[in-house]
C-alpha cells in the first residue's frame, strides 16, 4: 500500500513537471490530467475513496475541460491544422498513456488487495463526510456555495461581450463580419488580424 502511494506520488510529480515544461497548452493539460489521476490514486490509497472520486469528477472532469475549452477558444485559427496533425503523432500521447497505464496497474493492484485487512487505516466513507459536512461544517458549506455563486456571476460579468466592444472588435478584423457563427471563429480571425 505504501509502495503504491509513493509510486502514484512519483507519477504525479513527474507528470506535473513535464506538464509545466511543455510548450503546447493541450499537451500540458494531458500531463496535468495524469497528475490529477495520480493524486486521486493517492487519495484512494490513503483511505479517502470519496475524495478520489470527487477529484476525478471535478478536477479532471470539469476544471480540465474548462481549461481545454478556453485553450481551444484562444488558439483556434491558422495553426489549427498543424496542431491537429501534430497531436496525432504517437510521441504526443504516448507518454501520458504510459503513465496512465502504470496508474491503472496500480489501481488494479490496490483493488485486488483491498480485501486484505486494512490494518490501522481508517477509511472515511461518503456518509461520514456528509455527516460531518452538514454537522459542524454547515457554515462552511454555505460559504462555499456563496463563493461558487459569486464566482459564477463574476465569470459571467467578465466573459460577457458588451456591444461597444463588439463593434470595436469587428472593426478590427480584416475580414467581413462573421455573423452569428460564434466566438471561436471570431477570436481566431481577430488573432490573424493582429499578427498580420
Amino acid at each position: 500500500m505504501l509502495i503504491a502511494f509513493y509510486i502514484a506520488s512519483a507519477i504525479a510529480v513527474l507528470a506535473t513537471i513535464i506538464a509545466i515544461t511543455r510548450r503546447h497548452a493541450v499537451h500540458a493539460l494531458l500531463y496535468l490530467i495524469v497528475s490529477l489521476l495520480g493524486v486521486a490514486i493517492d487519495f484512494f490509497v490513503i483511505g479517502a475513496p470519496f475524495l478520489a472520486a470527487l477529484e476525478l469528477i471535478i478536477y479532471a472532469g470539469a476544471i480540465m475541460v474548462l481549461f481545454l475549452f478556453v485553450v481551444m477558444m484562444l488558439n483556434i485559427g491558422e495553426h489549427a491544422t498543424e496542431v491537429e496533425t501534430a497531436s496525432l503523432k504517437p510521441g504526443v500521447w504516448g507518454w501520458p498513456s504510459a503513465l496512465g497505464v502504470v496508474l491503472i496497474a496500480e489501481l488494479i493492484y490496490v483493488a485486488a488487495h483491498a480485501s486484505a485487512p486494512p490494518g490501522p487505516m481508517h477509511v472515511v466513507s461518503a456518509k461520514e463526510i456528509g455527516i460531518s459536512l452538514f454537522g459542524p461544517y454547515a457554515i462552511g458549506v454555505e460559504l462555499a456555495s456563496l463563493l461558487l455563486t459569486s464566482g459564477l456571476v463574476g465569470a459571467y460579468h467578465l466573459g460577457r461581450r458588451t456591444s461597444r466592444e463588439e463593434e470595436r472588435n469587428d472593426a478590427g478584423t480584416v475580414g467581413t463580419r462573421i455573423g452569428s457563427s460564434g466566438d471561436l471563429v471570431r477570436s481566431g480571425s481577430g488573432r490573424t488580424s493582429y499578427t498580420a
Binding site: 509545466i20 479517502a48 476544471i63 465569470a155 467578465l158 466573459g159 461581450r161 499578427t195
Partner: protein
C-alpha cells in the same frame, strides 16, 4: 508529502497565463493532498472536508480566471503575462 507541495510550488515560474493558472491548480492540489494526508494520519474527517472546500474554491477561481483571460485576450493578441504590464482603463 510536504516535499510534494514544496516541489510543486517551485513550478510557478512560467510566462504564459494559462500555465500560471495551471500552476495555481497544482499548488491547490498539493495543499489538498497535504490536508488529506493529515486527515489520514490522525484518523479524522476534517482534512477531507477542507479538501472539499479547496475544491470548491479552485473551481470558482478557475472560472473567474479563465473569464479574465478571455477578456484579456480581446485587448491583447497574446497571453504573455508581461504584456499586462500596462494597465489602462
Amino acid at each position: 508529502m510536504i516535499l510534494f507541495a514544496v516541489g510543486l510550488v517551485g513550478l510557478l515560474t512560467r510566462r504564459n497565463l494559462i500555465f500560471t493558472l495551471m500552476s495555481i491548480e497544482v499548488m491547490l492540489n498539493a495543499s489538498g493532498l497535504a490536508f488529506v494526508a493529515g486527515s489520514y494520519k490522525w484518523g479524522r474527517v476534517d482534512g477531507q472536508i477542507m479538501f472539499l472546500f479547496i475544491l470548491a474554491m479552485a473551481a470558482a477561481e478557475v472560472s473567474v480566471g479563465l473569464a479574465l483571460f478571455l477578456q484579456f485576450h480581446r485587448t491583447q493578441p497574446t497571453l504573455d503575462s508581461d504584456a499586462a504590464s500596462e494597465m489602462r482603463g
